[in-house]
Symmetry: C2
Subunit: 419 residues, 2 copies
Amino acid sequence: MTILMKIVKAEILTIGDEILYGQIVDTNSRWLCERLAEEGIRVIWKTTVGDREADILQAFHYAQKRADVVLITGGLGPTSDDLTKPCLAKFFDSPMAIHEEALQEVTEFFKSRGRELTELNRQQANLPVKCRKVTNRTGTAPGMWFDDGQVIFVSMPGVPHEMKVIMNEQVIPMLKNRLELPVIHHSIIRTAGIGESFLADKIKDWENALPSNMSLAYLPNLGQVKLRITANGSDREALKTEAEEWIKKLSLIIPEYIYSYENESLEIVVGRILREKKLTLSVAESCTGGYLSHLITTVPGSSDYFLGSMIPYAYEIKKSQLGVRPETLEKYGAVSEQTIVEMAATVRARFNTDIGVATSGIAGPGGATAEKPVGTVWIAYSDKRKTVAKKLQLSTERLLNIQLASVAVLNLIRRELID
Amino acid sequence: MTILMKIVKAEILTIGDEILYGQIVDTNSRWLCERLAEEGIRVIWKTTVGDREADILQAFHYAQKRADVVLITGGLGPTSDDLTKPCLAKFFDSPMAIHEEALQEVTEFFKSRGRELTELNRQQANLPVKCRKVTNRTGTAPGMWFDDGQVIFVSMPGVPHEMKVIMNEQVIPMLKNRLELPVIHHSIIRTAGIGESFLADKIKDWENALPSNMSLAYLPNLGQVKLRITANGSDREALKTEAEEWIKKLSLIIPEYIYSYENESLEIVVGRILREKKLTLSVAESCTGGYLSHLITTVPGSSDYFLGSMIPYAYEIKKSQLGVRPETLEKYGAVSEQTIVEMAATVRARFNTDIGVATSGIAGPGGATAEKPVGTVWIAYSDKRKTVAKKLQLSTERLLNIQLASVAVLNLIRRELID
């Protein structure tokens, strides 16, 4: 039996001059789009208006005509250029009154921080009587929920972490309770070491065989491709089981490229492998200039396995500090298989770690030769059993080359350790 | 004489399902907002719709009623889900025809890359006859300019770098030619080493004395504050002179905090000072884990002054590789004035550079003690004349601490070199 479910349509409305002036990036609306898609709500329209009453009311009016749910962020502060609340009161023709519970919450919030409640802040508990208050436990401006039986309007503060907490803890459960949403199951499979079109080609038979209630999206970023499988149906557990079966089939086709089924970053996965195997790591990075070490050390607790790095940026430092033999450098140059192999082996020996890795290349824009154009990068991995080197031909952009080469080294470590 | 000029209102319309699904961030619209503000055009509304004809036509209709200029990005590719061109043809009731010059351009584009023109690509030269073609010299889909004497509609590809080239080289000059725009002069002054509220307090008399045609915006980011002065009037040269006089006054109030009048990054400014003074730099970074070196090496040509780094992440490596004396580490700990001073001096000596800098601290979340909470970071600068150390108390967030400490070191180098 197929249940035909009405699609729930949402509009996201962002209010604030600072966005129209280009002073800040509106990261909220992208997060909301993703979050709503996860719950099976389709965002059909996104609008941004400034701090002007006529435009805000006009935007409410249009949104009411086309959406089932209108999610509003911004314009909720206590100052006079914050117009969302008075506009909502006008739009829903609602008087205002101090909301006792909201007043208690905002008083508590200030008290817990050892601060006095000012009259300006007290006014944050003054809400349109037709709304249901939505508690903002990490800030002072409460959210508001208006429901006339046709369209739901939700207003939230524009501060990203306040908005996210309110959405996850309150608005999403309230929407699930109020609306009949489709059951949707998302799976993210992260891959590295293969480009989008090659990956698509490798898994095309699998993709074509997916049942009609499952769809696949390719999300490429910096040498990695995330695969998102979206399954919809009516029974959550059955969907999960079905998705897992298809992912199992996928994992047999491209085992070497998949590094996470949990949407974790490559540096987290590599870190966990090193910790589990009780192995230590050192890095000698030249063209990546510190970015590879930075990626590794963004992970909390990375000091458990990462002991340190040498960045021998200058030719002379490669000899004097890292200890690459002058003969090797002179005969083959800094960007060569011979040098990269020595760099990885030397840093491993000097830092007394189980594994040493290295990078050396032409990040650009300067430094290129006819045989070594911008984007030529050598990377290497060394442990007590073996040393592996790999030549990459990346892009013409300096920063992109730095990022791609660093990701390639992380993936090289992963591949060597799981083999 | 005051000329009362009509404000030119713009709407930005972004087309594409991938934005509503939250799969990509719409960086174009923010860039457009900033770029238009620079030219004195006020963005009053921003809209995003998906790849559905009815929504696109509806968005055209609303935009036409409220804006003088409508800038459209996205939906211009050659595949069937790209609907912007057929929707524009429908909206302006225009037949389509192959545009000879556009066909020549797209043919040339493929030829220069050694590729054949397919029928699908040929269709990119098929344009509504009522539009003026806008050349896209870095891509294959031409832009379109519709002007009915009332409202101007401009359609551009969604690929960020193609859109930016088209805007800067063609659309902005065309808009200036067609519309009477106010003369606006923007100045950006970059500061580091002082928080927004302290800065505002220091310059409040200056700010209050600004004439009514000049306004000031504070744009804080990662331990730095950009000041943007916007001046408007009727004579470009006079405005520039007026702004320069006010900036000169400002530079006398906060000379030590200003690092650029040209909107350059701190790493670029520090790099230029080092190059001009013919000084070389080395880095010993512990808690910043490579990020400081990464910032320095994002600058093309940084190998002229940056020789290399040591990242002695583990306690043992601080001794064995960098050469910090065991007595210092044991007596004072890794996060101390004594250790940081030795780190900076030692890396300078070992790498044989004019300047050595160092970082050591508790990035978090682990590693804190009662006296050294998360966010405690020591930084140091050493040259042949002196060594300077500084203790920072940063945040509770790991990544933010890494970034703030790195920026603080760059600013420390700048301050020591300009004194």
